[in-house]
Assembly symmetry: C2
Amino acid sequence: MSDKTTMNWDRKICFRPIGFVQNDYDEPAGPLAMCGVTSRIILDDALVEGLYGLEIGQSIQVLFYFDRSPGDFDLHQHPCGDTNLPKKGVFALCTPHRPNGIGVTQVELLKIEGNVLTVLGLDALNNTPVLDIKPC
Amino acid sequence: MSDKTTMNWDRKICFRPIGFVQNDYDEPAGPLAMCGVTSRIILDDALVEGLYGLEIGQSIQVLFYFDRSPGDFDLHQHPCGDTNLPKKGVFALCTPHRPNGIGVTQVELLKIEGNVLTVLGLDALNNTPVLDIKPC
């Protein structure tokens, strides 16, 4: 078992984008509004071979960086920003305002053409950096 | 729609651990071997209020950093490292050897005591940095 001495809380863990989102949403539209949205993911050309084995129609997880969220956040927030709903802790919510701004969304893979994936249901804004793609 | 000029492929996106995994696994045991493993997540004391609203027994997603995986990876890999299985692209696999080493695992929340969460089914090694916790 580990103990406190092995936990480096100040460790910086850094990534680079593997791709970027393209869609018509430059401003937040609410999570439900984006369920039916088709987006494109422009993948780094050098990583295209990593798509081998993905099948059209399958569900995939897209991990992305909430680059439009400010660095500060509240530990208690209203779900979906709706002040009619009682506040919950940030780890009980999918809010983009969180300690590490990573989004995870399950989407349907509609098409792959070269380094461009077309997906349905990605609740990420235009130009959002993509961090990873995984099978569900 | 965005174009190439808005994609900064060299952008560094950095995070800090929100917690660390504690369990008896210091070496990889295979994904299936860890389905029944109970782990503890030691959360940053400053973030404990962020757990408010999580319920015992619920499924949560734990995002973590594959800190034991080397930086290099193959774009085509055997699933689960089993050479009897045909290779697939890294984005069609959950392999820890990937461009950005982020793991996402759905686990069952068994207990919360202060800043310590006990979870079932986390396939992360002892001392692994945790990046985020989300509801499923």
